[in-house]
């Protein structure tokens, strides 16, 4: 079993990428050493009225330095993520991780892959793009303004879609795939449920292996509270019903394994 750690992490840097989108590097020691793309960490606020950890996906992992990068969205005024966004270099934050299973890298080795991110599902695709060994087509979807685009361009063939048509294909990630006549034999995706649902359907039509990273409200982050379940085709290992735990059995699932 993979090791998880709860520790205090020092903030190495913080920058605002776009209004409401922040990028933070953390000195996370052993958590960074254990982490794989697609995993997440629990981040704890210092506010005793906000008790539950915020699950945030890993955008980059620097094993040598023991650093982790998270790129996250501030979800509103006076939220936990807003508190995170106000932290500066040298501040400390309580974190736990690495959590979840991550994207299977072996499955994509030497294959032609789509790495698809949508909205705040974009960040975890960056570390995956850096680590995956194969032909990578990186397709990112944004509502309007874009972030992390330069970093994606350095790690594969980059395509983008915007809902307002301000850059790349006007529409969604599947529109970008069609417009550029792209093909793949494996898909990795992270993003909002409607996007994942459409990708799952696309993968099934084309008979492509597809891994999706799911999201659900979480409490413990380690598989005990059973809050973050998703409906699964197979009987789950915990309760022997059809409820896989996003935090522990996922967040990455085979698209054919889960209902979206």
């Amino acid at each position: 079993m993979a090791c998880k750690f709860k520790r205090t992490a020092a903030i190495v840097s913080q920058e605002c990428l776009l209004p409401g989108i922040f990028s933070m590097w953390l000195e996370a020691g052993e958590i960074a050493k254990e982490a794989v793309p697609g995993q997440f960490i629990s981040m704890y606020t210092k506010d005793k009225s906000k008790l539950l950890p915020r699950p945030i996906s890993l955008c980059e992992i620097d094993k040598e330095k023991g650093f982790l990068r998270v790129v996250y969205r501030v979800t509103g005024k006076d939220t936990g993520t807003e508190q995170f966004s106000r932290m500066v270099k040298g501040d400390t934050i309580e974190i736990m991780g690495p959590l979840g299973n991550g994207f299977p890298l072996d499955a994509g080795k030497g294959r032609k892959a789509f790495l698809i991110g949508g909205g705040i599902g974009v960040p975890p695709m960056l570390e995956l793009a850096k680590q995956l060994d194969g032909e990578k087509q990186l397709i990112m979807g944004y509502r309007d303004k874009q972030f992390l685009t330069e970093e994606f361009e350095q790690n594969g063939a980059f395509y983008l879609a915007t809902e307002d048509g301000s850059a790349g294909t006007k529409g969604n990630v599947l529109d970008a795939i069609r417009e550029n006549s792209l093909t793949a034999d494996i898909i990795y995706a992270c993003g909002p449920s409607p996007m994942l649902r459409a990708i799952k359907r696309y993968a099934e039509e084309k008979q492509i292996v597809c891994y999706v990273s799911m999201e659900e409200h979480m409490a413990c982050g380690i598989g005990a509270c059973l809050a973050c379940v998703c409906k699964s085709k197979e009987v789950d290992g915990h309760s022997h019903v059809h409820n896989k735990r996003v935090c522990k059995d996922g967040p990455v699932f085979l698209s054919t394994e889960v209902e979206i």
Binding site: K6, E216, C225, L226, C228, S239, V241
Partner: protein, 303 residues
């Protein structure tokens, strides 16, 4: 220094337990907590068959706490006996199995199965809706509580703890009914029924509409109820509701609880149980308390 407490003849090495539903059967916490250091592990509720639980979202954060409507998802008694009890038997801690059901028959089926298992006690979750009584929780009707307790007690073959819901007019009435039915101990409080509306989505925060509120926000209510119940019955009381620190736990003990359970705090601090147990020892040292039992209900002496 003696931290031992005894509940219905079962001796715990210290008064700290886990609250049902916040610790699974301990497997997920093994990386963070040495289960040998706990007075007891109280498992997540188990029913006669697997329960799917409620639709998601199942939880929401509230100010100083959380609200849950998991719906008692569990693998059922067969898997539980094969997998969870042997896991817990590896540790030097007491095993208390929490039991849930929708009808007296369902409770009794589970209790009967457990009567042959190597466990120390059973805790009966009577906050479940009773299908035979218009989905009113068993624990909200004193007559039902006494009857169910007596039925369970007859076949359990080991001490039973009735876990009381706080969602009643007078918790001492329910506590006395459980005692009259033969309960060996009482645990309280279960969660307080609440509701939260997500104004952006213009709907309920949890899919079940209502959920059970827990965490530090509910602690004063829990301490009050434990105090009331401890003064209304002779059987030992296990106190819980928002315990996150040793000081929280000590409030319950001074109010009359023989043991305490750490619940929601496990979700944001996986080592909360151990920290509470260590903190109690530290308090005893600071206050030169020889035996923990000296502290139980001591507020009455100072009233």
């Amino acid at each position: 220094m003696d931290t031992r407490v005894t509940i219905a003849g079962v001796e715990l090495k210290n008064p700290v337990m886990t609250a049902s539903g916040t610790f699974g059967s301990g497997q997920e916490y093994g990386e963070f907590v040495d289960l040998n250091q706990l007075g007891a592990v109280v498992t997540k509720g188990v029913a006669n068959v697997p329960w799917e639980g409620n639709p998601t979202p199942r939880i929401a954060e509230v100010h100083g706490g959380m609200m849950n409507a998991i719906g008692l998802q569990n693998p059922g008694i067969d898997v539980f006996c094969k997998r969870d009890i042997p896991y817990l038997k590896q540790f030097d801690t007491k095993i208390i199995v929490n039991v849930c059901g929708h009808s007296p028959e369902e409770y009794l089926e589970v209790v009967e199965r457990l009567s042959d298992e190597p466990i120390d006690m059973m805790e009966i979750n009577i906050s479940c809706p009773n299908v035979n009584a218009g989905f009113l929780a068993f624990g909200q009707d004193a007559g039902n509580v006494e009857k169910l307790t007596a039925q369970i007690k007859k076949i359990a073959g080991r001490p039973i703890i009735m876990k009381l819901t706080p969602n009643v007019t007078d918790i001492t009435e329910i506590a006395r009914a459980a005692e009259a039915g033969g309960a060996d101990a009482l645990s309280l409080i279960n969660t307080l029924t609440g509701m939260q509306i997500d104004v952006e989505r213009r709907t309920f925060s949890v899919a079940n509409k209502t959920g059970g509120v827990s965490g530090p926000a509910v602690k004063p209510i829990a301490v009050r109820m434990v105090y009331q119940v401890a003064n209304a019955v002779k059987v030992p009381v296990i106190g819980m509701g928002g315990i996150a620190t040793a000081e929280d736990a000590l409030e319950f003990i001074l109010a009359g609880a023989t043991a305490v359970a750490v619940g929601t705090a496990n979700f944001y601090n996986p080592r909360a149980t151990i920290e509470v147990a260590e903190g109690i020892k530290d308090y005893m040292r600071r206050h030169k308390v020889e035996k923990l039992t000296e502290l139980i209900g001591i507020v009455n002496a100072h009233a």
